[in-house]
């Protein structure tokens, strides 16, 4: 398509044409109305003047006879810019007046008519048009009085010229404006299309140009940009995840493969094969767990797990998790303490339980107080209190806080955000078994409920808190279902 073809196909240009037509029509009808009215006015003026002159001259004729008539006509006919006068005898002989010749038959009909004429005193042979009145006088004379229509014609000419020019100006300005507007729109659309094509070609960081006028195209562009922002973030997330998956799933897969290869290469006894196979199954179970955790995180992050929400007491969850992990902690030389107050919460009980379980598992694994340095008296650093882990459930305003506090080394301020990312295992934890997904799952669950996972300092130690809105995703119907939930008066 040529550039011009593109131009005249734009909506802006087509709209311009429609308006142009409407404006031209309007201008034409305005001028037509004006012209027609003017013509009527001039004609009226002529008829009034001529009628009064006819009665005046008739009266003079009646009073002073032919002589008076003759005298008056000759007198008036000689004035500059005079009307047309003609008096004829019974047999059509002109006896007075300033009319040289007339269209045939005009003198024979009474009343008004338009006719071509020529003045007596005019040099050229040009005929002019006039509006004339013919009256029968007593004694067989006929009187013609009329007025030249040149004035009316000139006025008409001016109006016609004005019409021509104005329509020309309207058309030129209209088409020019249309092209200007269409080109402006077209340029911006072309710019957008170009950017969109670059983005489609893979450059996700590009953005649509946004002008400063804040018009509808700018608003559209900034909305599309916001959408691109989101897409880019999602794509980045996806890429990061796939990179991490590639790394963290390939490592155990490689181990798995190496073991199988090693077992095959060595000609061992049945017990050796058995041991190798058992380790293989163990390893693949670990892989499955990692995979499940990843899927769970993905689902929580995409908001798919929004179903299965109901009202429950966060304290019950804390108690359940405490009860489940208490023996494990004790075996590890830790004490699991519980501090709860009834805290109603609307959410996915299963997921919140799992998130809390992850935090407790982390606390048991990594929350041990640092070993005393050799030489230092044992027990001075590691007090009984230092081996405690506290699970807490409480409400605070509209929020429910589920926290796990340990007295371990904690996580330095700068690393906290990093620690919640997928597969991230801080150096201190790398030697321990684990997938590096515990905190990211907890964080994803909190996000799903419209809350967040906060990591803080317990001086010393780590306090990990699931901050959840008490009515995460709950509607007003929740209040009706749970009469025991204290209602906030709005």
């Amino acid at each position: 398509m040529t550039a011009f073809g593109k131009l005249i196909r734009t909506t802006a240009f087509r709209l311009t044409l429609v308006y142009l037509f409407l404006f031209a029509l309007f201008a034409a009808s305005l001028l037509a109305y004006f012209a027609w009215n003017t013509r009527r006015m001039i004609t009226e003026q002529i008829t009034t003047t001529v009628s009064s002159e006819v009665s005046e001259i008739s009266e003079i004729y009646g009073r002073r006879g032919l002589r008076g008539l003759f005298y008056t006509i000759e007198n008036r006919a000689l004035r500059p810019g005079a009307n047309l006068y003609l008096v004829t005898t019974q047999n059509g002989q002109a006896i007075a007046g300033n009319v040289g010749s007339l269209a045939p038959g005009v003198m024979g009909t009474d009343g008004w008519s338009e006719t071509a004429y020529r003045r007596l005193d005019e040099q050229d042979n040009a005929y002019h048009r006039a509006l004339v009145n013919v009256t029968q006088l007593s004694g067989g004379f006929r009187l013609l009085i009329g007025r030249d229509l040149e004035e009316r014609r000139r006025l008409f000419g001016i109006v016609a010229k004005a019409a021509q020019w104005s329509i020309l100006v309207v058309v030129v300005l209209g088409i020019g404006g249309g092209i200007f507007v269409a080109r402006r729109v077209l340029q911006r659309i072309d710019a957008m299309t170009g950017t969109a094509q670059r983005i489609m070609a893979g450059d996700l960081s590009d953005r649509l140009p946004v002008g400063r006028s804040g018009d509808e195209l700018d608003r559209l562009a900034s909305n599309l940009n916001a959408m691109l922002e989101r897409i880019e973030a999602l794509m980045m997330g996806l890429k990061e995840v796939s990179d991490n998956i590639a790394h963290d799933l390939k490592t155990p897969l490689t181990r798995l493969r190496n073991r199988a290869e090693e077992a095959l290469a060595k000609s061992g006894c049945e017990a050796d094969y058995r041991a190798a196979l058992e380790r293989t199954i163990e390893e693949s179970d670990g892989l499955i767990r990692t995979f499940n955790a990843l899927l769970m995180i993905a689902r929580a992050e995409s908001g798919q797990a929004r179903g299965n929400m109901d009202v429950f007491d966060a304290a019950d969850v804390a108690e359940g998790i405490h009860e489940l992990y208490e023996p494990l902690a004790e075996d590890d030389g830790m004490t699991l303490r519980l501090k709860t107050a009834p805290t109603p919460l609307y959410g996915n009980r299963e997921l919140i339980g799992q998130a809390l379980a992850n935090l407790v598992e982390n606390a048991i694994k990594y929350g041990k107080p640092p070993e005393p340095k050799p030489g230092e008296p044992k027990g001075a650093v590691v007090s009984l209190d230092a081996r405690q882990i506290l699970i807490e459930a409480r409400g605070e305003g509209d929020q429910v806080l589920l926290s796990v506090t340990d007295r371990g080394p904690g996580i330095p301020q700068g690393e906290r955000k990093h620690a919640m990312e997928r597969f991230v295992r801080l150096d201190s934890s790398r030697s321990q078994p684990g997938s590096g997904l515990g905190l990211s799952l907890a964080s994803a669950v909190a996000t799903l409920h419209g809350g967040e996972l906060r990591l803080g300092d317990a001086y010393p130690g780590l306090v990990a808190t699931l901050v959840l809105p008490a009515r995460a995703g709950a509607s007003s119907t929740l209040a009706a279902q749970t009469p025991d939930v204290p209602q906030k008066v709005a």
Partner: protein, 237 residues
Amino acid sequence: MTATAPLIAPQMRILIIEDDRESADYLVKAFREVGYVADLAGDGEEGLAMAESGDYDVLVVDRMLPKRDGLSLIGALRDKGNRTPVLILSALGQVDDRIKGLRAGGDDYLPKPYSFAELLARVEVLSRRNVGPAEETTYRVGDLELDRLSHRVARGKDELTLQPREFRLLEYLMKHAGQVVTRTMLLENVWDYHFDPQTNVIDVHISRLRSKIDKGFERPLLHTIRGAGYMIRDGIR
């Protein structure tokens, strides 16, 4: 129910409805090896017809099947009053999928990939359900006795003191005495959690329970089954 009940109901009949030929063949072979009758249906329609006509103790149904999907198959069976226990196998292992499966009329749900030990343990527990409700008020295994009404537990003449959760754990184990119970089954049925913990929480609970019921007694009752889970029964392995 006592420990002298046969370990495995003789000739348990299992119908496997699974379209992936390889895993289906593996399952059939594995079930036959432990002494069960295992039949195979390759799609939903065939599976429904076989489940209706055959007298099966347990159905193992894949969630996604050609011709008729697993959930609709279960729905059709249940509509016709067929109450054969159904275990759903699914690659969709998420919480809400499990709930959907159980709501559709399934009795248990196992996400893929699974271990055969886990599947076998669950199938055995399900089929026992088919035999009739084992809702006795007292469970006995050897000289261990658990009274479900008074919450009393005794071994021989000794009264044992158990924590509430330990009681529920023992209750579940004894309800399925002579059957293997896996760690995930315990976590699901005793604690009502459906995630797999990264740590050996269940083992710790079991060892606590074991120290209460077996410590100081000549014959242990609570056994660890390697690679599968736990079993309570009287007798020497």
